[in-house]
Symmetry: C5
Subunit: 390 residues, 5 copies
């Protein structure tokens, strides 16, 4: 039956090509969290009409066996939940209120849990209910061509021997390697319970931040050179965009750290002590992600400062050239203007006698040369004329 | 009797049209909290003469029945308070000291409670008195045309089986959907006590922040484009105004979070454990509101930086054009000026012999061309002349 | 005997008119706290020779009776301290070491308490000694004409059934309404002990910050308009001055909050539980004051940013006008200069033949018009010429 | 024997005159803490060859008696340590490894204590060893002429009935008034043990920060005027220098506060409860010092902002004058240039007929006047020409 | 056998000369932490193909004896681990998955420990496993010529009587002085267990930060002068680079402080109380390092501000010169232009009669002088012409 395991996993990652621009538009909305109409009762579900109809996949495994199925109705889960084996129910898409409500009934979910799972996006968090625990995370995957990242809410509901995961949409997830590990015999994941599976998925989501961040590291390095060499408005926009996207990542990872921390401490009753050790490692990874996000944010802020300084510098250098050329020629032009006046030399001997002097022209030209030289010397002494080695 | 429930609820939300400008003026005062004359005894009430006379509405409901009445005097509440059913007394308007004092007597309110309820605005807070608990909140509703928001203080006083709410003014509240839920049979709200009602109202107030914030998200996105493309003084004013209003929202929501947190923890004796779970959800919403406020504040700050950079950039580009055109023509003008001098060529052969040279004019024009070309080449090499693709 | 109560209260508040300027000078020194010569023993008193000689006023009251006296010597207090009634000893002025030392002896004050009370200014604080408790506060009162505020240290020493207050100087305090409440029969203050009196005075001091802050709110609003419309150096100085004064208020109110908090918690043994409830309200007021101070500080900082942006904007607009006018005329002036050259047309036909051409002048003027039009068109397309609606 | 007490105290404070410049140089190094070669064993001492040879002074006192001696060898201390009287051993100078090691042996110091005492500078701290406690402080004394401050590490080692102090160098300390208090009979210091002496010295060091800070207050006030009136590069350097030195003070006083706090709390076993009360006062003083340092730092930062604004303002005003004068005359000059062209009026009637018109000159001059007036009016309306009241 | 101890320590520090540039490139990558492919199982090792093959060195010592060996296989360690003597196994290089896995087996390492040790870089941390404790640190060594620093991850695994250290690469470490101390008889290190050795190595790593930081102190001092005197784009780049590198140091030392703190507190079971005292000293050193890093960061930020101010200042001064020269000559040039017009004086007596006036030229020249003088006087009064002492 193991061959079934791969059936429900079409190669989604490759479909992202065309809808890039549209996706970028959507991404902008992430700044705002989902909310119900003020005053509406708790547990109200808001269904996005354009969202994909939920696909329900089930993987049921134990140390000795593993099956993978796509289920037609939520109720089909029920019989698998009773067995000793670990049941991973993976719901992809939030487009049907009916299916989601029935799902809630099968898993006996608290209305507030269902609300948080369906009304996306929510802030990452951990919450402990009587017989199940909710973890909300944001999964990020890098876009092609350094265009940022896709973001998708993933909700984990961990029960005694089952794990229910709900993804925003069927495209793209980073759980495929975990599925592959389940498919294979004798992997650690097959020896452990649902808590280990939860750990594996959380770890996959957290590790998914690293390639996205690495991408930003490279983009920042590129910009660093541009900012000093030729700062343009486009550079400014790019730095601003990176700052904005890093802010989004920051808002996704900080609360996730708190959620995982709550999971590790005694808040969670479904996590065994052995798995807690792995969770601690996962927590360390979130700390490393946070460290990188903060570092890149600081680098981006520094870039902004350097950008401003560079612009100032360039303006300054252009000013210098203007000053020197203008102030050298303006007095000379004045002198030329004076001797271009048309006073009637015949009316009086005091009227521009220089014009008739035998060496008048030569003298004036010499005078101009002296004035220009003095100015050049003055500017040079001031340090305003430098060998433009830069 | 259910038909009565709607009588006391005229369609207030539509009356806000004309008084917009005036309201904006009032809003400015929110920076300052209310205070009594220094030295005056605790419990002193300051009545604003222009405030609306208080309207008192009562909704009394149990799982099986619900009535709605407008009361003429505070004392009429008394008989409803003794019953097992939940009594929601909603006071709208703070214009009569007499009515408010009598209200305090009916509900046996501590003088400090009455002071906080009447002397508006107060900072949001939770306070536990012997037999009642006070929650002060700021309710916000979006203005039309993206002109910010209305703000109004709502005070909740929760007792054993009653809830007293006091609103600043009769116009606009976000409680209508809650009233609607009470009117309908078999809703969750009818099955629970006064603590659930308190939760429903607090949740309505908190959720009311989301549409206001969403509005700011859109305004910031609009400004983002303007700031890079054509930054004007008006843009600056707008960004500054948004920053200011977000600061006001921030000051309203942060202390509300603390108040709800105090409510959840063991500070409150009137909240049952089941409701505490709902309150925790409500707390999560305040955290999401705070997250959005802080995000928008950071975006607005970034916009300010980008604005400054854009202005610098534009100045820089204009400077560049000026420099190039000026410094190309200034030396040429000087040369033209020299050959416009009127030295008497007859007085001496050294006086401007160029003027008589057969190819003098052509040579000088050629010289000018060479100088201009050299300058253009120099500026081009410096990168100051670029294809202005921007 | 009640008529005596008003005798000791000359109308001080009105005397502040002339000494305004001098007071402003003194205020500047508040940045520095008082200190003794390094190495001097604890309890050393530094008496300012110019300070007022201490006036000692006593109010002794119980639920049934109240007397007010001005005392000649500190020792006269002694007999009142033994009675069951509440004794409020109010010392105004710090100009006599002898009187202050004797006062310390009468009240059995720890030398460190006396040092803190006399060597002003000290940082606000609460300190618990064996049989008395010290609260140091800074009392602020608004100056006329929006010129900031007066600041004065007030020290409260609370004992079993007495309250000793020490004010820096006899002018101005905000305790008069409290005295009035004592004078009147059947007020709450007459029913309670010394701890309620302490609460009433602390509350009066805290509430005294509100009118001062309201004043800053108005000044900031005024400046906000000026900063965008016509930013001048004077505006800059004003914003800077407000920031500085708000910093002073901040330094006075933050530690006061901590002091009151210490008073509420179990640190204080002289405050009864009932009064603790009132103190909590007073604590809320300090939080509101802090909230307002921080808000105004942020607004002032924003103003500074807007100021800088406005200056940049103005420079930018002026630059734009200069650029356009200069760069339009500079090439034209060059052309005019060329045809003002005096090359000898008789020497050669290549020497400025245009001058003799029949339509030479018209052509050149047309050429100039074309060049100017092209430039205007270019600048318009660049968006540099806009309808100056601002 | 009391006369001996003054022998060991030459008037050091006066010798600081010449070495000012050199001292300033040394001060720069304070940014870096001392460290041993990486990998060297704990307790390694680094002796600065140029440091003064240690002078060892002993004051041994009880309520009834007090002697002062300069000791030749560390071992001479030993016999005084055994007595009931308090022994204050004051070591000045760190120039001899041999003496310091022998000192360590006499007082039975932990190698890490000796390392911290000798390898200067160290960060201020409190550390509790088995039978002695280490407090490291930085003592500051103001330089003449507002040139900043001297900084010197003082280490206190407090034992059962002795106090060992180690100073960096023999010049300047602020302990002389304390010595004077010991010399006099019946002072509080003579009635108490070594813990009171430690308090007195720590208090002297902390109070020593006040005059240094007061000095900065005055310098900042001076600069405040200069920054607005005539900002120069020199002003900028001065503000930068003050910021830097305040940063140094901040780094010295913050950890000292933590050290004193540790001393007050139960960390210290050698401090009696009575002295703890005095220490609390001393702690308050460090808080006041910190408050002043932070205030001055903020004032200096504000000054920097104001400086930048002032520079912008000045540039702006100069730009305005340039714009007005240039843009008024450039078009006029162009017109004059046009009528200076030499088109041959005889060649054609269309060639500059204006030159021959009877009122040509008057008309053109009038035209120029009109153009100039229109410009002046335009600039005036724009608010660019203002009565330069500033 | 002691002669063996030095065999395995070739003089690595000298080989760093050529690969400087390449090393700098590598350093840039430090911003990003290592991570596994998202979804891969815990304990996955990523081997860098270009990394050095691991060299394994063993030092086994007790108070009486010490041997040093290079081991061929990890399994050779096993027999030394069983003895009472302390075994220090030092692995240098991470180039072989096989060797590292076998090493993990010999020391019974948790898979997560091996992952953290091999997949570099990791954030410094302390982690407590059942029978061993992991400390991850970053070792820094200064580059020649003030070009920053080398960074290398060092992992310590402390067991009952062994210490396993894993270094990133065989070149450069700061442990040689520790090896030297082990080689020598009767040093403290020989008297203590593995915990003292761990302390000695951690202390060596921490102390290694000091010379690196000292280097930055000098570079900042150099830049400080340049920034005020002649700020160039190069200076800007340098300040930016220093800020960036200090950020890297900061990210390495802050978590190390937390790790050492965890080691001191009760988290560690393998550290004896005596060694805890030494660790506390080591903790103090990290605090001093942090203090220095933060100080230098603040100094660098200040430098950036001063840089911007200097640039503004220079632009301002250049503007001033331009303004003065231009605005003095532009009106004069206009006047000269007017009298260069060619109006036909014969056509009308109103056509430029000044040209024929006997003192026309002299008067006009005088007028120009007066205008120029008035302008100079005006600029002087405005303070725009100053003795350029700077």
């Amino acid at each position: 039956m193991l061959q079934n395991l791969s059936r429900y996993n079409p190669d989604r990652a490759d479909e992202e090509s065309e809808d890039d621009e549209e996706a970028i538009e959507n991404e902008e909305d992430f700044d705002a969290y989902a909310y119900n109409e003020p005053g509406s009762p708790p547990g109200t579900l808001e269904i996005d009409k354009d969202a994909s109809v939920p696909n329900i996949f089930l993987i049921d495994y134990s140390a000795t066996d593993a099956i993978g199925l796509q289920l037609a109705t939520p109720e089909e889960c029920a019989k698998h939940l009773d067995t000793q084996s670990v049941s991973w129910v993976d719901v992809q898409g939030l487009g049907s209120e009916d299916v989601l409500l029935r799902l809630g009934k099968v898993f006996n979910l608290h209305p507030l849990v269902l609300e948080d799972v369906v009304n996306i996006p929510q802030r990452p968090k951990f919450e402990d209910y009587e017989d199940h625990e909710l973890i909300i995370m944001h999964m990020v995957t890098p876009r092609k061509n350094g265009k940022g990242f896709f973001r998708e809410q993933v909700s984990l509901i961990l029960g005694e021997n089952y794990l229910l995961t709900v993804q925003e949409e069927p495209e793209r997830d980073c759980f495929e390697p975990v599925r592959e590990r389940i498919r294979r015999d004798k992997t650690a994941i097959r020896q452990h319970g649902a808590d280990y599976l939860a750990y594996a998925l959380i770890d996959a989501v957290v590790d998914g931040y690293f390639p996205v961040l690495e991408d930003y590291g490279e983009r920042l390095e590129d910009l660093e050179n541009k900012v000093v060499d030729k700062p343009t408005t486009r550079t400014l926009s790019k730095v601003h965009k990176i700052k904005r996207e890093l802010l989004q990542l920051r808002r996704a990872i900080w609360p996730l750290r708190d959620a995982i921390n709550a999971l590790i401490r005694d808040d969670s009753t479904l996590i065994s002590n052995e798995i807690r050790l792995y969770m601690r490692d996962c927590y360390d990874h979130t700390v490393q992600v946070i460290d990188m996000v903060e570092t890149y944010r600081e680098l981006a802020s520094n870039l902004m400062d350097v950008y401003l300084s560079s612009i100032s510098n360039r303006t300054n250098e252009i000013m210098r050239v203007l000053t020197i050329i203008s102030t050298i020629f303006i007095p000379l032009t004045f002198i030329a203007g004076v001797y271009g006046m048309n006073f009637d030399r015949t009316a009086s001997p005091t009227n521009m006698p220089e014009l008739g002097a035998p060496y008048g022209y030569v003298t004036v030209m010499g005078l101009m040369l002296v004035i220009a030289s003095l100015q050049v010397y003055y500017f040079y002494k001031k340090g305003w004329i430098m060998p433009s080695k830069k």
